[in-house]
């Protein structure tokens, strides 16, 4: 016979573990996309001005 408290414990643990894991994967994917985006912006800026002067972010809008 399993004590009923364990079911309560299990329910609350599962809920918070799953939600935290889900939020964590979203954050991780967000970070990797941001990294890729910045890399891309840097190459664009680099190609548009071979000297490499000026902030990369302002170049991307063109």
């Amino acid at each position: 016979m399993i004590p009923h408290v364990l079911y309560v414990l299990a329910a609350y643990t599962v809920v918070w573990l799953v939600l935290l894991a889900y939020l964590f994967t979203i954050a991780r994917r967000q970070a990797s996309i941001r990294r890729e985006l910045e890399e891309l912006q840097r190459t664009v800026a680099h190609r548009q001005s071979p000297g490499g002067s000026g902030p990369p972010a302002s170049r991307v809008r063109q």
């Binding site: 009923h4 079911y7 309560v8 809920v15 890729e36």
Partner: protein, 256 residues
């Protein structure tokens, strides 16, 4: 996108941005909800009696699962309503943002429905002595789960035409939402109407402390659902921006 949110520095709210506000509310709501649900709320005698009759154990603690189970289901309904809203606005305006709202909400809704089903089973084990007893409300949740899993599968089976996939998904998002009241009618309302005894027993009026705890829990998880959906939308927007940039670069490379 982020800069746009934080640029006007008038007042606290606009500098925080609405996602940060939701984070703040969650940071207050989550510990409050946990304290109320696990410590403060009393255990109901009627429910304890039901548990005793089913399992022969005098223990009302399993009922505390309700404070996390019911809000999961509510959070899922909010998400599915946002799927409907996003689908409708996408078909009307044809802006990719609304498709992103719909698909993000669908995924989050499926996560919350899954949690509602798991916590429902964990409540069922001590209450009925079985993880699944085809309880009307849990069955209803199961059908919703299947519909929105089909929604996600339809999206992934779309193949090379993103605009068509978005349109098809929007149609399912709208049809599925109109189906929800009919499923509720066929699976919950009519069967319960035919067994008035069970209804009067399970709908025994909640003591005010339990009701208060349940409301706080529902509000907390509603905020949390919006927060997760917001994060998911932000992710999809960033991905969209990345793809657009890659397409633009490819075009530039092919036509110098």
């Amino acid at each position: 996108m982020e800069r746009g949110l934080s640029q006007p520095k008038t007042g606290v709210l606009s500098t925080l941005g609405w996602l940060d506000l939701l984070w703040l509310l969650s940071l207050v709501g989550i510990p409050t909800m946990l304290y109320l649900a696990l410590v403060w709320a009393p255990e109901d005698a009627v429910m304890a009696e039901l548990v005793y009759r089913a399992t022969g154990v005098r223990d009302g603690v399993a009922q505390r699962i309700f404070y996390t189970h019911v809000p999961m289901a509510m959070a899922a309904y909010i998400s599915f309503f946002l799927v409907f809203l996003g689908s409708l606005l996408y078909l009307w305006r044809r802006q990719i943002v609304w498709d992103i709202v719909a698909r993000s909400s669908a995924e989050v809704g499926v996560v919350f429905t899954t949690l509602a089903l798991i916590t429902g089973s964990l409540w069922g084990m001590p209450t009925w002595g079985a993880p699944w007893a085809w309880d009307a409300r849990l069955t209803f949740t199961l059908v919703l789960w299947l519909i929105y899993i089909a929604y996600l599968m339809l999206r992934s089976a779309g193949g090379g035409n993103p605009a068509r996939t978005a349109r098809y998904a929007a149609v399912l998002g709208i049809v599925g939402f109109f189906d929800i009241p009919l499923i509720h009618w066929a699976v919950v309302i009519i069967p319960e109407g035919m067994h008035p005894f069970i209804v009067s027993e399970s709908r025994a009026s909640l003591p005010p402390e339990m009701l208060f705890t349940l409301i706080v829990a529902i509000l907390t998880f509603a905020v949390l659902a919006l927060l997760v959906i917001g994060q998911r939308i932000r992710l999809e927007l960033a991905r969209e921006e990345l793809e657009n940039l890659q397409v633009a670069m490819d075009r530039e490379r092919s036509a110098p």
